[in-house]
Symmetry: C2
Subunit: 231 residues, 2 copies
């Protein structure tokens, strides 16, 4: 699955086929940037000046439409790169990156990046791979949203989030993110009302237990069935 966060910096796709020593050199050129909950690493349509790797906290990537609607494209958790678009020249960020809690990220500015790419061409190849995964993910999500019902899309999203940030508890897997119904709605392209109704229904079926900004998956297999069942 694309965008699986990794636990060690060295495992990032970006560092594929580089030696420990090379990676150390690259990491040395980064600076650290801390921001508070609610602040932005960058805003949509800003010129893409830097590439980030989140090492602590949680970041929301959102996109606004011309008519003011918003959708939540992704939640970034450590250790995951974001703002990879800065690896290409003269682009602007297609999304905004907002911290949902206090965050720390490694940052490489544009000029440093182009030096690094010159010195370690393998990094550019790795970047292509990262971007290729992004393309695949969004093509697939596009196809999903174009062809599938809300219930299934929601089930898939919750499973995806559980996979990404799920924490095992005695009673089931808890999605470890402060996600409101509104957030979930923006992720699957629906309204908070439909999300609420769907979760209530699942709760009455014993599949999950939903609370305020909290979801506990009691019966993952049931969700998988909804996510994949024919019809």
């Amino acid at each position: 699955m694309p965008f699986q966060p990794v636990s060690r910096l060295e495992d990032l796709t970006l560092f594929n086929k580089l030696t420990e020593e090379e990676i150390r050199q690259i990491l040395k050129t980064a600076r650290q940037q801390h921001i508070q909950a609610g602040e932005f690493y960058f805003m949509q349509d800003d010129p893409a000046e830097a590439f980030y790797v989140l090492t602590k906290g949680k970041v929301r990537l959102t996109q606004f439409t011309a008519d003011g609607q918003q959708i939540l494209l992704r939640i970034i958790v450590p250790v995951t790169p974001f703002g990879a678009v800065a690896l290409a020249d003269h682009e602007t960020y297609p999304v905004s990156a907002q911290a949902v809690e206090a965050c720390t990220a490694l940052v490489w500015g544009k000029t440093v990046l182009s030096q690094l790419l010159g010195r370690f061409p393998q990094m550019a190849v790795n970047a292509v791979k990262i971007m290729a995964e992004h393309v695949q993910e969004f093509q697939q999500r596009f196809t999903e949203i174009a062809t599938q019902r809300v219930e299934r899309r929601l089930a898939r999203m919750i499973l995806r989030l559980a996979h990404q940030t799920g924490v095992k508890t005695p009673r089931g897997v808890e999605v470890n993110l402060p996600l409101s119904r509104q957030d979930l709605a923006e992720m699957v392209g629906t309204t908070l009302y439909t999300v609420s109704r769907t979760l209530s229904q699942w709760e009455s079926q014993g599949l999950i237990q939903a609370g305020r900004e909290r979801i506990l998956i009691l019966h993952p297999h049931g969700l998988v069935k909804i996510a994949e069942e024919e019809t």
Copy 2:
């Protein structure tokens, strides 16, 4: 706008900042591949073995869902690269590429590609840029489909197609593609019935003239208004 086809090979993003001489060398390493209408350059989930640049004909990029539904992601016209995912290692094609008419494409196989990337690191940087544009396009289309009505999505798509392949005629701009209602439906994520109804409505308003696998835009401004109007 991303994915604008270019008229000369040298203008491809892939060849940015390379000299004429370098480009000539790169082109020399390509082979040509002709295929007939209906045949495939590659199928979804095949290992990504080659990168293509279409020089003649038209190619459909489609994606199938697990439950057999299909969506049409893009129509490729000359001169446009496709299968860029092969520039990254060990990927599979996320889409199928089928010729809608007799086609010619330049082809670079995987091994040749990795040699080229080693010799011309700038190519990898350019590839990142291409992929970044793809990501942006699909993020945006994802947002569109998640937040907007069919009518607006259809208007946008037709304008996009007109921009890409439109031909001026005395009476208006003709979309120069053999696109059935079904094809259009698959591109915007709806059904052929809804497309037909919408086009009929536009025709009665004098915005377009629709025929069998043919659309003539009489009043582009009207479509733009539908594509962008608030509400």
